[in-house]
Symmetry: C2
Subunit: 525 residues, 2 copies
């Protein structure tokens, strides 16, 4: 074996020492993620308080590592070494760019961690675990009152967190940063206001349409799992690095450089829920699998991470909506559904079941037409709770009023209303807008992808549909890997979108896409 | 709420501080156990090396906590405080006994940890993970050579561990201590020699018996799971604190004060394997559930732990052999098997399938008659590998020769031979004898249980069989909880057995029990 001079020197470099430190932090973080996975997929219910203690212990350890003076020194030393090496010409252009960005991101993250009181970090971890457990309880009994005290505590702790971080942003904006770097309420309003106007008008156009056939049939759990397996098989799942389980709320999580997991769930009376959740979570997983983290060495560095939750959602929504809910996909997949006993006679039957286009109370089960309105309601309420002193007690009332106003529906109870989502139970505020931004990004990326594919000679009015029709999703995946996944945290969401699509992010691609979907409805009826 | 003076003082006591420290150690230990569980039940294969790194990190943290000067100080302070409180009459008799034993056990454990070099602890954790992974690989290809280097490394590290521990015992004895406190090779020989003579004679008596019907049928995985669920339902499983999964090698593990897990496996062509493994692991789990650790407070103290692996095995074997393989159980359960499609016409059919009484090559699938011989072979080989310089290369040959000599069978390949058990792949030497000691203890406990039940007025020649016939295993469980489980680490295995049964441990109860089993065979034929 030949050892180059560079390899021999490596362990003495400050850059290498920093990498070792980040690597151990990542090991701890992935242990925490494994406990979270187990808690949601396997753990017996009575173990909740012990699990909360384990997670609190790890959160304390992680915070201590991520805010320690030793860590700050390692970053400073690596930065000094980097400047020296750049000057002496020891690094190529890509190395310079990557190291510079890594240091910048590490300094931002360290600054945030250092400003937080360790006691607050422990309290938050404990409050999250307790909140999750009480939310489950409250949800099963449909009694918001059981969950209200935990929510009040989480809001108070998160406000305190924003105060300690003391960024030049509002409380809600500060908490949204980890999900959506550089997002402001102003920019959000700019992006969302056209939707507030247009979506109800679009919904109005399909009003009075009959309830689709999917509300009148169901599939066994076994059949639903068979269909999900078939889906992921056709989408290239490698079972040596992925696994699937069920949980109350579907999610995707990465537990190591070669350990990508996702969950789905069976919902009685909703035969497509499990299938679409699998498609959605698989989109998340593909993004994680495509990040520049395919070796232990790089898994630990910030550049190897997802850039924002909106970009993450754009990927899951692309696979769920742009592919699985497309006309071409239904044409290809309906025979599998029929084989499992679904009463479908053609692709259009499946497509209509996949696209009910009727507003309901549930966000996760919502179609693309009304989905955005669910998010507008949550975003407004979050900002009101954190910045406008809205009382926690009034949440169910405020929730229901807004649903009546925007969607014209009323939840029957809190379980179907303000208790439906897990996020607030874990203290996650500022996350919801990412879902809707994800819709906008997915649609805008799809337009750019269409242009590329046409240039590559895929001769079709809609080359994405053509790839789906041919079972050639790998072509679409290659584009996503090259244009989106591989960049990691190099750019924030808006910069990435503008770079890939040539125009700033807006709601127009999404609204055009919805209009095309309505055209199919009109053609079919 | 009334707060007594004592509660107010508690946090200032050295005893309480020690408890807090142990509690955190236990949290870390249970995190490690959770990763182990996930590794064996869920983790995708390619994640093995990352998981090994996580486990190594936790092993290093745990060792550091368990051998730190701070920990030693906490024990010393708590001990001094204990002596003072005893003198001033602040403790009742039970408190004095418990605290004294807890301190004694903590000092033994601390002494062991302190003598170990942290580098050795890390190396061992890494070698275990690597050994397990290579063993899986070697086993799937049935090539011992792939695993040999890892085994050689594990032996060398474990010998070094015994050297560092420098106890007044041989290498093998030193490594066996954590499983079987106070065990010596001399005592083991005394207990096992009667079996080496008698078991082959008993096997000879049933030689030439036809292969039982169970080798000619099978059950679907779904049916096997249904039967396991029925079993645990009748045995009082509480699903809020337990869960079940499948893994290549069945095991039982405790992940928290209210989190008891077990695994089983489906073996093609062996329709009872999954059922009996479930019964076995449930016996382990019941022991853990019955230990004096039912609150977070006590989970951390040594007294709340299992006293030895032999006692642990005695509990699993009691449920597997004494109950599930009994005549009365077959009479009660055969209709469930028949309903799932097993070709059984009466209880005796099921009983014969449960008790093939024909020697084979596989330990886990072995019946009670030949089981002991599997253990004698492993014990001899372990001692030879660790103390008599037996070469790792010669293991398959030595293994096969002994099987021919003692059991008259020859494995077809290494997968069926020396690669069948997981233990050595994780560096566990000194564990196997506990299985056989467990048979002896189970039989001797059953004799004492019989006497108690007769005194309690259960009017039957075999009151255990009567309880099983009536589906009243809860009476048997109550006895086990009161006489065995609740004592934790208060006494070692032999002291416990002598205290409960009135006589020192020996092989006679077990040999009597086997003779009675053979009588049923003779009656039936």
């Amino acid at each position: 074996m030949v050892i180059s001079v560079r390899d021999q020197v490596l362990p003495h470099l400050a850059w290498h020492r920093l990498g070792e430190y980040l690597h151990e932090t990542q090991l701890l973080g992935s242990i925490q993620a494994t406990l979270y996975w187990d808690q949601n997929t396997t753990m017996p219910t009575e173990s909740a308080s012990w699990r909360a203690e384990q997670l609190t212990l790890l959160a304390r350890q992680l915070h201590s590592r991520q805010s320690s003076d030793h860590f700050a020194d390692l970053i400073a030393e690596a930065k000094a070494e980097f400047h020296q090496m750049r000057q002496s010409g020891d690094l190529n252009l890509k190395e310079i760019e990557d190291r510079e960005k890594n240091i910048e991101l590490l300094e931002i993250d360290l600054g945030r961690q250092k400003r937080l009181d360790p006691d607050l970090v422990s309290s938050l971890a404990a409050a999250k675990a307790k909140g999750y457990s009480l939310w489950q309880h409250a949800r099963s009994r449909s009694e918001f009152e059981c969950f209200a005290p935990a929510l009040r505590e989480l809001i108070s702790l998160r406000k305190e967190q924003a105060r300690q971080l003391s960024e030049q942003r509002s409380c809600w904006e500060t908490l949204a940063q980890p999900f959506e770097p550089d997002l402001t309420i102003g920019r959000l309003t700019e992006l969302f206001e056209p939707l507030r106007k247009s979506l109800p008008q679009l919904i109005e156009k399909v009003k009075g349409r009959e309830r689709p056939i999917s509300s009148q049939w169901d599939l066994s759990a076994t059949s639903q799992k068979t269909l999900c397996n078939q889906l992921l098989k056709e989408w290239g799942r490698d079972s040596r690095i992925t696994c699937i389980a069920t949980s109350p709320h579907p999610f995707s999580i990465t537990l190591g450089p070669k350990d990508f997991r996702l969950t789905t769930r069976i919902v009685d009376g909703q035969p497509l829920s499990c299938f679409l959740a699998t498609a959605h979570e698989w989109g998340h997983s593909l993004y994680e699998q495509g990040l520049p983290n395919q070796s232990h060495q790089w898994f630990a560095w910030p550049l190897g991470q997802a850039t924002s939750m909106a970009v993450h959602e754009s990927q899951s929504l692309f696979w769920e909506n742009r592919i699985a809910r497309s006309r071409a996909f239904s044409e290809r997949f309906w025979p599998y559904f029929a084989k499992e006993g679904a009463p479908l006679n053609c692709g259009l039957d499946l497509w209509q079941a996949m696209n009910p286009l009727i507003p309901g109370c549930n966000r996760v089960e919502a179609d693309e037409l009304s989905y955005g309105l669910h998010i507008l309601i949550r975003t407004e309420i979050e900002i009101a709770l954190l910045e406008e002193d809205m009382e926690v007690e009034s949440l169910p009332k405020e929730w229901n009023r807004r649903y009546e106003d925007l969607l014209g529906v009323q939840p029957e109870n809190d379980r179907e209303g303000c208790l439906q989502d897990v996020h607030w139970s874990e203290g996650q505020f500022g996350y919801f807008p990412s879902y809707l931004l994800g819709h906008l990004i997915s649609a805008q990326l799809a337009e750019a992808m269409t242009a590329t594919l046409q240039k590559l000679g895929i001769d079709d009015e809609d080359p994405i549909e053509k790839c789906i029709r041919n079972g050639d999703e790998s072509t679409l995946l290659s584009w996503l890997r090259k244009e989106v996944h591989i960049h990691g945290r190099k750019m924030n969401a808006e910069t990435l979108v503008e770079r890939v699509t040539g125009t700033p992010l807006s709601s127009s691609a999404f609204l055009n896409y919805l209009q095309r979907k309505l055209d199919i409805v009109n053609c079919a009826s």
